[in-house]
């Protein structure tokens, strides 16, 4: 049996080779550029990066936007996953198509659609005025709120699908057992349902945060150059400033954040798995 598994694992060789050449090797070269100077090894680029107040503001904005995007996606995705898990036949197909089909649309097209929604005379301002919540149009375009709404829209499937996978396997007899013992709906949710679905929440949040923290096209189109993120700084460093050490340094910082998220989420998932 072990020998058979070993042989089957050879099927992964092309994929591993491809990743090594196309992904790992360039990544190592990129990281090397961030610590290599004409004089030899140096962390000066990192020191300069973290000493610059502007860079710190961009780093904080990147983390804040990614965090809030993840939170908004979670708030929308969690009930959606439950609705999908209860859906049967045609309704389930409708849910899945609604989830997957928008992924086939380019971000540029979506950004133009959002600009129609967020305009001063756009649909959202019109609706808010019509129901009397505001007297005159409020500025929505080029705001962080618009960015978070737009990003959550793009990354929603990456939050819904992991939660849906867990919720679908949830043993419905457990909340029912809690109910039969007199637990209130609130108690059942926080002490039975939520802990059992947390692995899906962690996986979905890790996916969404990792994607949101490194997004480039969406902030470029929705908030423009006045609210830069780390990815925009990387593009600027390589393409406009032609400063490869700076671009490599920021890339390494971004990679570090992504790795930290993956490691933390794996650790959390293991702990939650052990508890449940």
């Amino acid at each position: 049996m072990i020998r058979r598994v070993d042989r089957l694992s050879l099927l992964a060789v092309p994929a591993l080779g491809y990743l090594a050449v196309i992904y790992a090797l360039p990544l190592v070269m990129l990281l090397a550029k961030s610590v290599r100077t004409p004089e030899g090894f140096s962390l000066a680029e990192y020191a300069d990066f973290f000493a610059d107040e502007y860079n710190m503001r961009v780093l904080w904005r990147t983390l804040r936007v990614a965090g809030l995007t993840t939170l908004l996606a979670l708030v929308i995705a969690y009930p959606t996953a439950f609705a999908m898990s209860r859906a049967k036949g045609g309704w389930l197909t409708v849910f899945l198509v609604a989830m997957v089909l928008p992924m086939s649309l380019g971000v540029v097209v979506k950004a133009f659609a959002w600009s129609i929604l967020f305009r001063a005379n756009g649909a959202l301002n019109g609706a808010l005025q019509w129901i009397g919540l505001i007297d005159r149009p409020i500025r929505m375009m080029f705001t962080e709120t618009a960015l978070i709404v737009g990003a959550a829209n793009v990354f929603l499937p990456f939050m819904v699908l992991p939660i849906y996978a867990v919720v679908r396997q949830l043993d419905q007899r457990l909340p029912e057992a809690a109910a039969s013992l007199g637990a209130t709906p609130m108690f059942r949710f926080f002490n039975v349902t939520l802990p059992l679905t947390l692995p899906g929440v962690v996986a979905g949040s890790a996916f969404t945060f990792s994607l949101a923290v490194s997004m480039y096209v969406i902030p470029s189109l929705i908030v423009g150059e006045r609210q830069q993120t780390l990815s925009m700084l990387i593009a600027r460093s390589f393409l406009y400033l032609r400063n490869e050490p700076l671009g490599s340094t920021i890339s390494a910082v971004l990679l570090g954040i992504a790795v930290l998220v993956v490691v933390l989420s794996s650790w959390l998932a293991r702990r939650l798995g052990a508890r449940t």
Partner: protein, 350 residues
């Protein structure tokens, strides 16, 4: 696993097949490059309309070239050329003068000669740069684009700073060449000096730009999106826009126009060059020759409301009368642009 072996799929054959597949995949771009009639051209994203409609069919008919073009910003084209210096895949690049200077400094260009490109002898003298390292092929003019439903015109660049236009203005980033126009206007208005002197008053320019912040809705690096907002009336003024973009939209009935404010307008520095060591060099020279020839010059100048560089061509845009048209010291820009971009981004950051 046994069944697999019986069908002849052994571990060795599997690895061999994978290796051949990987080699094939990696070799594909080289195989494609080897096609003799193909030319990859780097150009601006805003060139897409006339490249598709005018240039691609003409080049197929005139020189038998299959044109592939990559529309992006000049600085991105420069990066592509620099990154692929040892094995260039672009043959010709159409980009702006300040970036051309950087490309010359990085030894990425090969000179255009009259022997290989006879039509360059018909160009205006000031359209050939650094002994033929690049030529200007057409020149759009730049001013302030405005939405005609919300503005009757822009008599002065001061309108950008007018409190009545709070939140109604978008300017280009200095990452885009057209972003320089707002910087130079700010230098003129801030220093009170004529353009010839003001273009070096960069501190005055940044001080004046800071005063513009309350009026800014955004700063763009992707022009099409900003222009879309102008067309839809979300903003009233789009600074630094140029005739090859605004005037064709105006002629299509979109409520936009391009103003030539009294302080002056700017000549967009649209250049064309041959990439050093680029594929199909003879076909690339033929392409450049066609671009500088009468037929292409007339067609592009008419389509893109630009001033042709070829002196035998009478078509194209008419430069507004009664205002100065400026062309800055691009060497000074090229030497300082990186520092200006960083300073500008920090100044404009929210």
């Amino acid at each position: 696993m046994t069944r697999l072996t019986h069908r002849g799929l052994t571990r060795r054959s599997l690895l061999k097949t994978s290796a051949f597949a990987a080699a094939g995949t990696l070799a594909t771009p080289a195989l494609l490059r080897a096609q003799s009639s193909e030319l990859v051209i780097g150009c601006a994203g805003s060139h897409t309309a006339w490249m598709e409609e005018i240039v691609v069919p003409h080049m197929k008919e005139a020189i038998g070239a299959d044109i592939l073009f990559e529309g992006t910003k000049s600085s991105v084209n420069l990066e592509k050329m620099a990154s692929n210096k040892d094995q260039p895949y672009l043959s010709v690049v159409q980009m702006d003068d300040p970036v051309m200077i950087q490309a010359v400094e990085a030894d990425l260009l090969t000179p255009i000669t009259a022997e290989a490109v006879p039509n360059m002898t018909d160009l205006r003298g000031d359209a050939v740069h650094m002994d033929g390292m690049w030529c200007n092929y057409v020149q759009p003019w730049a001013g302030v684009a405005y939405n005609t439903d919300y503005s009757e015109g822009v008599p002065s660049w001061d309108a950008l700073w007018d409190p009545a236009n709070a939140g109604q203005v978008i300017i280009p980033s200095l990452q885009n060449t057209e972003g320089m126009w707002t910087l130079f206007v700010a230098a003129m208005l801030g220093s009170g000096k004529p353009f010839s002197e003001a273009q070096y008053e960069i501190d005055a320019a940044f001080a004046k730009l800071e005063e513009l912040k309350p009026n800014l809705l955004s700063v763009y690096s992707t022009m099409s999106q900003a222009f879309n907002l102008l067309e839809q009336g979300e903003i009233t003024l789009l600074s630094g826009n140029f005739s090859s973009y605004t005037l064709p939209r105006k002629s299509e009935g979109v409520p936009v126009d391009l103003a030539a404010p009294k302080e002056g307008i700017f000549a967009m520095p649209s250049g064309i060059c041959l990439v050093k060591g680029g594929p199909n060099p003879e076909l690339a020279e033929a392409y450049v020759n066609e671009m500088l020839g009468e037929k292409m010059q007339s067609a592009i100048a008419d389509f893109a409301s630009s001033v042709p560089a070829n002196t035998t061509v009478k078509a194209g845009a008419v430069i507004p009368e009664g205002v100065q048209i400026y062309s800055p010291d691009w060497a000074f820009v090229a030497a300082n642009r990186r520092a200006w971009i960083e300073r500008f981004d920090k100044l404009m950051a929210l």
